[in-house]
Amino acid sequence: MEILGYFSNALEPTNLLLALFGVAVGTLIGALPGLSATMSLAVLVPFTFTMDPASGLVMLGAIYTGALYGGAYAAILVNTPGTPSAIATTFDGFPMAKRGDGALAVTLATLVSVFGGLTGALMLLLLAPPLARVALQFGPAEYFWLAILGLTLIAALSVGNQLKGLVAALFGLMLSMVGVATVGGDLRLTFGTNALIGGINVVAGLIGIYCIPVLFDLVRTADPHLDPPQGSHVAGFRLREAFSILGRNKFNLVRSSVVGTLIGILPGAGGSIASLITYSAAQRASKDKDSFGKGNPAGIIATESANNATVGGGFVPTLVLGIPGTPPDAIILGALLVQGIKIGPTLFTEQAEITYTFIAGLILATLFMLPVGLLIGRYAYRSIASIPKAALVPSIAFLTVVGSYSIQNNWYDVVIMLVLGVIAWLIKEVGYPTSPIALGLVLGSIAEQGFVQTFLIGRAQGDIVGRFFQSPISLFLVTIIVMGLLGPALRSLWKARRRQRHPATEAGRSEASK
């Protein structure tokens, strides 16, 4: 049991302290809208040069996992995702906070983040080499279908007004095309300005789309931001209640954690896509579909377990193949290379000590999220609710500017953030949903690159259509897409038939369910 020996390495006081420090710092950074894990890692990397390689890695891993978890706070309490991975957490998290269940939502997010994080880390520990082979099965065609699957979520996000949802999504897709095309190199939709050559930065765009409308809404009404009902039942962790909700959502939790890990393994996907896809899966599997988006805890359970599961998943291709699963992984990989560590399969044999100490550190850091998160969460809800708007609004406004500037140290991104924010607010005013814009922006370039690359490869081999459908993974994804799109129509057709046949029982049942 050599692995246990490596765990005792990770348990050294220095490593323990670094893990705890990393989680706490990461959580705080993640909680601030605009400040991302990628940025904090890039800044802290030089400090690891002088550390023991394993210790440095433990700290970086802890910051990363903490930041993904911290994103949930801003999502739940302010309705602005702290990190892109927490977009889907706002859908149900903020409605929960609004109705006085903020503490419960934060506790749930903490518990499922720990569960998801552990799932990812354990899969990394036990299954890394075979999982890396799965990652390689994902080629351009598979990425294309995965992005299309993500886009079908638009249907769920724009319940009641599919057409407006589609219009918003198309706008998002157009935004994703701005700038130099990766495939082909053409300059598109730049209107002759240098500001748009680099395209619309996804993170800056998301900050604008999600934070600016919230700011306008906060300013426009006199009501308090959150109005927690007074009473004993809302105070504290509400752990017992959280566990009973988890008990009812075991399948959702396990499915989201495993799917989150698997999507994390795919370089080019990442936390935001994992949480969007698991959210839609949770909604589809639920009996109570309509409550999603209105404060259903199952939504938070899906997104928060999935995004933390991507941490462990993302390290699979990073460590085994030397191909970073996510942007933060790229930074950690760079830190490894500067330290002179050779990545690849030998990491698990010749350099096992560093690798296993790191994985053990990641598991410990994930466990630390529990006390750190519950402690912060205990006060976060009350304090966010008690901060006067006059302080909350300028603070968030300041963070949106700092956050969007610091992604690429570029003022253009701040302008893009503000412009998109105002557009998002305006179209929200006229009844269009904004999440489809975000979805289009995030998934557009993945879908486009996948499509064109598949087309080019197919043309070279003389079988363009076949290339799109030839792998089992493609066929599987296509099946889910078709089922998702036709599912609701078939279901209502079936219901209508039933009603025709047994009008009495159906009426009685719907009466009872009310």
């Binding site: 670094l18 800044v43 994902f138 130099v180 990766t182 190199g185 191909i323 790229a330 290379l337 070279a460």
Partner: protein
Amino acid sequence: MFTRRLFAGALALGATSLMLAPAFAQTSGGYPDKPINYIVVFNAGGASDLAARMQQKYFEAEIGVGAVVQYMPGGGGAQGWARLNSMEPDGYTIMGTNLPHNILQPMAADVGYETDDIATVNFFQYTPSIVVVPKDSQFKTLDDLIAYAKENPGSLTFSGSGSNSGDQVMKERFDQVAEVVTTYIPFSGTSPATAALLGNQVQASVTYTTEGVNQGDQLRVLAVAADERLPALPDAPTFKELGYDLVGGAYRGVAVPNGTPEERRQEVSGMISKISQNAEFKQEMEQAGFVPVDITYSEIPEFIAEQTEIYTSVAEPLGLIDK
């Protein structure tokens, strides 16, 4: 010890994320007397970042001041380069540059800067291009690959990073010297291009020696576009050995804003040379698959002219010149 360093780290995090203005003070003598801002125009974790981080390690010891690495990615580096000349020309702001990027980008489109706008003062490393296949590929040698390409015109697929990029030009040059027609599939970076190769989505890949070293046994390097074999890839033959006249790759250097005085430019070049001469640095660069070079300030104009000629002569027939 650690906690103090961590505390400093936390402070640096706050400071750097808010660092909007470059340095103010400027003393004529005693350059450098404060940390250098080293701007990388690519994402953290890429080859440019890796090279800068390796230099950063030696700044304190060799130069006496530290270097702060900052990122201004976007548009394949173009956004950062387009902003170089509006920065403080005092020698405390330096920016990583890249040939052929600085030649090909302005050639293909209006990207906000021209090749001549970038005042590179020192090229410190060369990263040769390589042609690789997965380890279990049917192509054991470069000749196998070329024979296949001749039998199946257009069907052999190469992955590479980006369109109108160094990788694409290298692929086209390969087609010319080997007298074959192959298909180039652009990806959004070196890592995705390698992933596509490892997953057998494409049959071969044009990439850099650094990637060949990183990937180790997973890949077979069929040929290196360098004059000599690399210490880090001793078993990989050069194109020249195999009878093809193909040498090329990326040169990474350091530039200053074009308002920087002549004397300061030479000082910056000297500073980079000093780090390049550190034996440990050299060894680390070689291990990673870079070829350390030291093209100093006085040699730059001739070098850039020479490279521009090579790329213009290739890019024109390819239709890369759009303007």
